[in-house]
């Protein structure tokens, strides 16, 4: 069976989803999604192992060779992303049961798990596939289920948030398909590696490449919420059910970034990509995003919204790293992909616990909460420190690499800007710490610590954001391999 791992990775959640519909019971649906996501995680680890030991895995649907058949092609880069997505998926499933039972109407819970599994399918599919159009299909599977998941939020604003995301997301996906269509006209293929090979022979003007790349970039930027195309994100993250927010924040945008890496480095290649001038634009937008979003985050009263803006800023870091076009920079971007997924997951899971017990994640409702929920807030602090980039947390590792990439490129001011924006992160994290730890509770209430079934996944993530801040062999090692491969131009 090990030969079929790439397709099983995507197929298992897809097959599991209908069972949730047919069986209809919320606990059974939860059990299905938990088992499925654990299996997915195991498979992703096996795939990573295979890739690291045997090199690139190529799997052709139906046995037809490229470019006709759809290929699942897994190298270090996407093996790594598969691990991230499925790990977060497993943690979130483990965590979600109580939170979902509380936040979602009873008769819709089985639909929630169905949509969740479909979303997982889409994200894993996007990552695993080697066909650019197939990627679009998976993108839409994940997007559609995401819209559904967001709309399940309790507040009625979840509906408008979902609608807003639907409009922006669809625009993004359509831009992507247009860009892809232009590439297809030039090359006649949709296979990513094939595209790379054939683009080299196309003697089109720079204009045509720019046009195609522009469409692809704008489309993907919408999906990954690159400033200033992030407008859908704050509402979506704020009003979605807590579990969904945690899942989306740590997977959806990450996968979109991965796709962008593929487009930039695998399809176009560093040289052509650099020639188009797009990297400079991305760098500027990334830096603007880091500052604007962090600044806005400081003024948020709703913590989910605060973290949402922080995500926009963090995406800025990732894109900044990529825009350096150097091994160090791209490594920084890729490792931050992983690191940010972990820390944001921890943070949103912590907020999920607060939501579960307090019923609100507004700062004004959290005075002195650390006394009542020490473990939850402890994990929040760990995540927050990581967000700031404090040494011994994952956030430090990526920021260190990022700054080094800037220094390497002789861009001292950029390095300084990275640090200054970390200060903004410090301000918004500190606001929470001060309120949670140093303010007296407004009213006497009998808020208890969150249940263990939520705390354990939360602390797995919090622990991971410390562990991988100290032991960087795995994350950095793989990220560097991936970056070398992408920047080195070997598809």
């Amino acid at each position: 069976m090990s030969a079929h791992l790439p397709v099983l990775q995507v197929l298992i959640p897809l097959l599991a989803a209908p069972f949730c519909v047919v069986l209809r019971h919320r606990d059974i649906a939860w059990a299905i999604s938990l088992i499925t996501s654990l299996v997915c995680f195991a498979i992703s680890l096996m795939i990573l192992d295979q890739v690291l030991t045997q090199g690139v895995i190529s799997y052709f649907m139906g046995g037809w060779p490229a470019p006709w058949g759809i290929e699942f092609r897994i190298d270090v880069v996407n093996a790594y992303v598969l691990v991230i997505v499925s790990a977060i998926g497993a943690i979130v499933s483990l965590y979600g049961r109580h939170s979902i039972n509380k936040e979602i109407p009873r008769n819709q819970i089985y639909l929630f798990y169905t949509a969740y599994l479909l979303c997982l399918t889409g994200l894993l599919g996007m990552t695993a596939t080697g066909d650019a159009f197939n990627l679009f299909v998976f993108l839409e599977i994940s997007s559609l289920s995401t819209y559904a998941l967001i709309s399940l939020g309790k507040n009625r604003r979840a509906l408008t948030a979902s609608y807003q995301y639907l409009i922006m997301g669809t625009l993004g996906a359509t831009f992507y398909v247009i860009g892809l269509g232009l590439l297809y006209m030039m090359t006649g293929t949709l296979n990513i590696v094939d595209l790379h090979n054939k683009l080299a022979d196309v003697d089109g003007s720079l204009r045509t490449f720019q046009a195609a790349l522009a469409f692809l970039t704008v489309g993907l930027s919408l999906k990954l919420a690159l400033f200033p195309l992030h407008l859908w994100l704050p509402n979506a993250y704020t009003y979605a059910p807590s579990t969904v927010t945690a899942f989306l924040a740590s997977t959806a945008t990450k996968v979109a970034v991965y796709v962008m890496l593929r487009v930039f480095f695998t399809i176009f290649g560093v040289d052509l990509f650099e020639e188009t001038g797009v990297p400079n634009i991305i760098m500027i937008l990334a830096i603007c995003g880091m500052f604007v979003a962090s600044t806005v985050a400081i003024f948020q009263e709703n913590l989910k919204r605060m973290l949402a803006y922080s995500s926009v800023a963090q995406i800025g870091y990732i894109m900044l790293g990529i825009s350096f076009l150097s091994v160090t920079g791209v490594s920084a971007g890729i490792v931050h992909l992983f690191n940010h997924a972990i820390m944001k997951c921890a943070l949103f899971l912590a907020l999920g616990c607060v939501m579960y017990r307090v019923g609100s994640v507004k700062l004004s409702d959290m005075h002195g909460i650390a006394k009542k929920m020490p473990w939850t807030m402890g994990a929040f602090v760990v995540g927050g420190l990581s967000l700031i980039g404090v040494p011994l947390t994952v956030g430090f590792v990526s920021k260190w690499y990022l700054i080094n990439a800037a220094m390497e490129a002789d861009m001292m001011p950029v390095a300084a800007l990275i640090l200054l924006s970390s200060l903004l992160a410090l301000v918004y994290v500190w606001r929470v710490i001060e309120v949670a730890y140093f303010r007296a509770p407004k009213t006497e209430s009998n808020i208890k610590e969150a249940p263990l079934s939520m705390l354990i996944p939360l602390w797995i993530m919090a622990g991971a954001s410390i562990y991988f801040g100290i032991d960087t062999d795995m994350t950095l090692g793989v990220a560097e391999l991936a970056a070398e491969m992408l920047v080195g131009g070997t598809p």
């Binding site: 209908p18 799997y59 139906g62």
Partner: protein, 139 residues
């Protein structure tokens, strides 16, 4: 309601069986041209939606209930993905149907037929379901 709209009702009545059959035709002949399942699903769903529009949602649900549709959608997905899995057990890649019959040509045909059936079922039930919720909520 239905008695007051004879023009629409009669038009729908005459067309309904033909639309349904056309849907099935597209479904079965899908393997001669790609994408049959989807088109068939759309056509089939359109006929149900038309029926619900001209008669009523209640009437449409009597013909096919939401629960039945949800289960059909699920079966559709299972058919689609499950067929591919079968090929594993013959040591072939996912979606490789050469294994499904004695000779590869027929194997592929059966495979595609079943897959398209899955797609058609899913598309049909998903579209109809969405319409049901949409129309059911709108008053």
């Amino acid at each position: 309601m239905m008695d007051r709209k004879p023009i629409l009702r009669v038009t729908a009545k005459i067309f309904m069986p033909f639309i349904l059959l056309f849907g099935l035709y597209v479904q079965i002949h899908g393997d001669f041209g790609p994408g049959g399942g989807f088109q068939a699903g759309v056509i089939f769903a359109s006929s149900f939606i038309l029926y619900a529009l001209i008669y009523s949602l209640h009437d449409a649900k009597l013909v096919l209930s939401s629960v039945a549709l949800e289960i059909m959608a699920a079966i559709g997905v299972l058919l689609f993905a499950g067929t591919g899995v079968v090929s594993f057990f013959y040591g072939e890649n996912f979606l490789n149907y050469n294994a499904l019959a004695h000779d590869p040509i027929h194997g592929q045909h059966y495979g595609i037929l079943i897959i398209e059936l899955g797609v058609g079922l899913t598309v049909f039930s998903a579209m109809t379901l969405i319409f049901y919720t949409f129309a059911g909520r709108g008053r």
